[in-house]
């Protein structure tokens, strides 16, 4: 159900961007999600398919690029990739580290079919 609410949040910005770039149809959507979001890509794709029904993004394929978790040590300033959610500085061992990446949820890019490529149809209401 996590994925359903994310899909609902995604569809607005997708359609807004499509409109802004004058697209006729959205064929692909790429999302960049931090590993801390613990998104199941297949579930998000399915949920997105459902919310996109009847919109310009109907039938668009959704791809999730996972952003690894990284952090910076507040004591020694080392930046490191967090593996297995272990937030301890590998250099000096302290726990006082700031998460740099891994929480984000970004709409990264869209694949659009431009308007002029379709000749026959008038836009549906």
């Amino acid at each position: 159900m996590h994925e359903v609410s994310l899909a609902e949040q995604l569809i607005g910005p997708v359609l807004a961007a499509a409109a802004q770039y004058g697209g006729e149809r959205v064929t692909a959507v790429t999302v960049r999600a931090g590993a801390l979001q613990q998104i199941v890509p297949g579930s998000l794709a399915l949920a997105f398919e459902a919310v996109a029904l009847g919109t310009l993004a109907e039938g668009a394929t959704l791809t999730v690029e996972t952003v690894p978790v990284t952090a910076r040590c507040r004591r020694c300033d080392a930046e490191f990739e967090v593996e297995a959610f272990c937030f301890l500085c590998p250099t000096c061992g302290v726990a006082d580290v700031a998460t740099l990446t891994g929480n984000e949820l970004l709409l990264a890019s869209l694949e659009l079919e431009p308007c002029e490529s379709t000749s026959s149809t008038t836009s549906p209401s």
Partner: protein, 220 residues
């Protein structure tokens, strides 16, 4: 045609949460967002906490629930309580909280508790304008939930380990719990609690009083 957008999906919610944060700051209200799986004891903890703080701070509650008012009735006995039905939605968002705030007398309030919808994943991603997130785990869920759902333990300012009275019966592995927490967020304070028996409630209330003082001092 490919277009790069780079749009933060939670932008709208974040902006609204920031507005709530500013309103609460101006009114000098300390706000806690309670997050846990269904049934970990959020409402029971709040009942005990509200009762305990009754003479010290003016409290109110906003409670999110999929469809019922059961929790709101339980807490209304102790403090003004606003119920939000999410109609099946798995988390509260800033817009819902913003609407609920309109029904509270903010000038007569010191602390606002928000009981989120029971869910250990979705609510974490939605800023509600709170000062602190309180992560609650009950021993009956198992110690492995620290490693399995790390994000809440990263973002929480305190953990309440509830139903500690049941620890022996469910073979709760305390050593593993603390070892895993050590990896995810070693700086996180933990209060072992039994909300039904009342253990740990006064420690939690002391923490609230202290934390509130600290935040208000910084804001000045």
């Amino acid at each position: 045609m490919r277009v790069d957008v780079v749009h933060n999906v939670t932008k709208l919610n974040d902006a609204m949460a920031q507005q709530i944060r500013e309103t609460l700051r101006e009114k000098r209200i300390f706000c806690l967002n309670l997050i846990s799986s269904p049934g970990s004891g959020k409402t029971t903890i709040l009942e005990r906490t509200l009762d305990h703080l009754r003479d010290e701070l003016r409290c109110a509650v906003i409670v999110g629930d999929l469809a019922t008012s059961i929790d709101a009735y339980r807490m209304a006995e102790y403090a003004p309580t606003i119920q939000i039905n999410t109609d099946g939605g798995c988390h509260l968002d800033a817009a819902m909280v913003s609407t609920a705030l309109e029904s509270l007398k903010l000038d007569e309030l010191d602390v606002l508790f928000i009981e989120n919808v029971g869910n250990l994943v979705c609510p974490v991603g939605f800023d509600l304008g709170q000062d602190v997130k309180v992560g609650i785990l009950s021993v009956t869920e198992g110690e492995d939930k620290v490693a399995k759902y790390p994000r809440i333990w990263r973002e929480a300012s305190i953990v309440l380990l509830n139903k500690i009275d049941l620890a022996p019966f469910v073979f709760f592995n305390r050593t593993k719990f603390y070892a895993d927490l050590e990896q995810v967020n070693a700086l996180l304070p933990v209060i072992e609690m039994s909300a039904t028996k009342g253990d740990g409630v006064s420690r939690f209330c002391d923490w609230i009083l202290r934390e509130r003082e600290d935040r208000l001092a910084i804001r000045r």
